[in-house]
Assembly symmetry: C2
Homo-oligomer: 454 residues x 2
Amino acid sequence: MKEIPYKIYLEESELPKQWYNVRADMKNKPAPLLNPATLKPMGFEDLRPVFCDELIKQELDDTTPYFDIPEEILNFYKMYRPAPLVRAYFLEKALDTPAKIYYKFEGNNTSGSHKLNSAIAQAYYAKKQGLKGVTTETGAGQWGTALSMACSYFGLDCEVYMVKVSYEQKPFRREVMKTYGASVTPSPSDKTAVGRKILKEYPGTSGSLGCAISEAVEAATSKEGYRYVLGSVLSQVLLHQTVIGLEAKTALDKYHIKPDIIIGCAGGGSNLGGLISPFVGEKLRGEADYRIIAVEPASCPSLTRGKYVYDFCDTGMVCPLAKMYTLGNGFIPSANHAGGLRYHGMSSILSQLYEDKLIEAVSVEQTQVFDAAVQFARVEGTLPAPESSHAIRIAIDEALRCKETGEEKTIVFGLTGTGYFDMVAYEKYNSGNMSDYIPTDEDLAKGFATIPQL
Amino acid sequence: MKEIPYKIYLEESELPKQWYNVRADMKNKPAPLLNPATLKPMGFEDLRPVFCDELIKQELDDTTPYFDIPEEILNFYKMYRPAPLVRAYFLEKALDTPAKIYYKFEGNNTSGSHKLNSAIAQAYYAKKQGLKGVTTETGAGQWGTALSMACSYFGLDCEVYMVKVSYEQKPFRREVMKTYGASVTPSPSDKTAVGRKILKEYPGTSGSLGCAISEAVEAATSKEGYRYVLGSVLSQVLLHQTVIGLEAKTALDKYHIKPDIIIGCAGGGSNLGGLISPFVGEKLRGEADYRIIAVEPASCPSLTRGKYVYDFCDTGMVCPLAKMYTLGNGFIPSANHAGGLRYHGMSSILSQLYEDKLIEAVSVEQTQVFDAAVQFARVEGTLPAPESSHAIRIAIDEALRCKETGEEKTIVFGLTGTGYFDMVAYEKYNSGNMSDYIPTDEDLAKGFATIPQL
C-alpha cells in the first residue's frame, strides 16, 4: 500500500468535472420552497425576479444526480484548487490518539474559505444571463469576499450587505472586498425599506444573516439587471459545494482510506452539505456507512434545539418559506465570533437528512471551540477560522475518545477556512475575555414565536 | 511533452533533502563578518554569545556545497510544503503577453510567507543546543510570526521586537504571534539600553529593522540560555531558504521548463537568495544562463543607490560589520507599506553577486507596486503581500515588454507571501491616499555618514 503523504493533492485530471446532487438519491426529498403570498410550492417563474435562471433550475431539480461543471468554472477552480486533503499527523501525535485524522482544507484562497466554490458558479450564471450585477449578504465576510473575487473575474457589479457585528469586528474584510471592486454596506442599513424597519424595531441590533438577506433581496429586486445570490442554505449552493466532498472522496479512495466519522461545522449548511453529499449518497444507496456529525454553536443551535417546520429564510419575511430546522426567522443570536454560523435556519437538504437520522448534530460553546482552534494552530500550523474550529473541537473530542477505547477510527473533518481576519476574536480569547452565550428556553421561545403559523 | 498544470505540487519524495550553499560555487566569496572591536574576521568563538553553535558553523562555511536538512525539519516542512509553482495563466491572459509567467508561492502557511523555512531551522538548532529561548526583530511581522510558530512547535520561549510602524499598522500580526505564545514589543522600546538611546536621538521615530535588531541582540546576550536569531541578511538564512529555489528548480525541470528571467523582491535578501541560489550555481558553474533581477523599493534602495562597503548590520552598532551594499546603518527609510523591505543593507552573498554582475537590480515606487498587486489579486486570486508585489511589478513589466517584442520569454518570480495582514496599506491605496517616498541625495548622504570609516 502506498504511504500516505501529509497532504494529498489530486492531479488536475482527477478533479471532479460534475457536481453531485444528493437529492436525486434521497427517498424523502427536501420539502419545496413555498411562495409566501400563496403558500404554494415556488416554480421557475416565481423565483425569476430574485435568482438567475440557471440557478433556479438547479434549485428546483431534485432528480438529476449530476450536473456538468461549465468549462469556465473548471478553469477558475484551477486557480485555487485542488484543495489538499491533509493527514493531521501532528495533531494525532499531540493528542496521542490511535485515531487517524484527516481534514479537507478549503482555506488556500484569498476569500479564506470554501465559499469561492459556489461564488464563481453563481457569478458565472449571472454573467451568462447578461446581468449587470448581483447583491448578497455576508456574515463573517468570507462569502462576500468570495463573491467579490468571482464578480471581479467576470466584470460584474457586486453589492454586499454585511452583518453589522462582522462589519465592525472585521474591518479588513471589507477592504479585501473593496480591493476586488465590491461595495459593502453594514446591515441593517437605512438603504432599504426592510433595513429601516428592522432598525426601528430593534435599535442598536448587531444584525443577523436573516436581516442582511432581506436587504440584499430588496436591493436586487428593486433595480434592473440585478439578481440576488446567496452563499449558503440553498440547494444550488450545496450542489456547487459538492466539489469539496467529491475531491475528498477521490483522494481517500486513491489511498484506500475509509472514514468512520465525517465532521463539519454547520451554519447554513453549505460546507457540511458539500463535504458529506457523496458519502451520504453511498449511505442512501446502501453502499457504505458513515457516522456524520454536524457541529453548530451553542449560541445558534438550529439543528439541536430548533423546530423542523416551514419558516421564512429571512428576518424581513420577503423570501420564500423553506421547511427546515429553524430557531425562528426573528431569532437574533447573541454575539459570538463565528459570524458564519449565526443563521436561524438550516439547509432544507441537511434538515431532511437530520430528520431521517442520516446525520447527527451536536452543539459546542465558543471557548471550547477556541481551545481547539489554538491547539490545532500550534501543531498543524494553520490558524483556523472560528467557524471551522467547531469541527476541529468535535474531531479532537472523537480522537480523544478513541484514545480511551483504543479504537483506530478514521476521522475526516472539513477545515473550511483560515482565521486571518478573525484576530479580534483570537485577541479576546488570548486575553481571557471570551465568554459563552447559550440562549435560554425563553430566548428560544421568543424566536419560535416569529415562525409563521401556516 | 506533459501538459503544464496550473499548479505544480511536487510529491513528498521529490522534496529537497539538502540545502544548497551557493558560496561553495562562488569564485569571489562574500567578505567575512568583522568583529566591531578588533576589525578582524569573526570566528566561531566570537559569534557564540549571540548565535546558536550549529548556525554559526553554517554562517562561516563557504566551501561545503550541501547541508543535510535534519529529519525534524524535513517533517515540519511537510506541514506546509511543498509550495506550489504556479503557472500564471490568468495573468498572462490579462496582459495578453506571449511570455510564460510562473511564480513560486510561499504564502500557504499562517506566517503568510517564506520566513517559516528558516524559522523552523533556527528554532531546531536552538532547541538542540538546549537553549531556553530566542530573541528576534520583525519588520512586516512575517518573520516574527514564523518564529513564533517554530518556537511553539519546539516549546521555546520567543521574544519579538517589532518595528514600531509595523506594530501599529499590523495590530493583528501581534495577535497571531501571541496565539503562538510569543511576547511582542514595539521597537524602539525602553526595554533595552540601545532602544532608549535611539528613542532619545530620534524621538517619534517609526523604527527600522536596524534598530529592532540592536534591541533583540541586547536582549539575547543579557540573559542566560537565550540566543539571537535573524530572519534575513545572514548567509545561514539564505542557506535555509534555498529550499524555495531547489523546489522551484525541481518543478521546472520536471516539466522541462527553462526560465529566461528570474525575479524576486529584496529586503535583506532571504527570499531572493533562496530562490535564485540553485540557478546562480548553474551560472557560476557555466551550466546555464539566466537574467536575475532583484527588486527593491525606491524608498530603501540599498542595491541601486547604496555603497558596497563594510557597515554595521544594526543601527545600534553592536552587531558585527558586514561588507554589503548599504545605505548606512543610520539610514531610516521613509514610511512605506513594505515593512519587510526597509533594511538598510543587503545580504553579503547577494551584494557580492551583484558586484560581480551575476544579478541585476531595479527599484520601484510603491504606488506602481500596488497597481501591480491589485491587478494580480484580481486575476490570479491571491492577494499578495506588498513585499512580494515588488516582484510582481517587474514580472508584469517584463511580460509587457515581451508583448511589444513578441518574445515568448519564460519568467519566474517569487511570490513570497500574502497580504492578509496588510489591509491598512490596501485601504490607503484603494482610497487614493497612497504616495511615494524617494530619498533625496541629501537623505542618502545622511545615511552614508553613519557608515564607519575603517
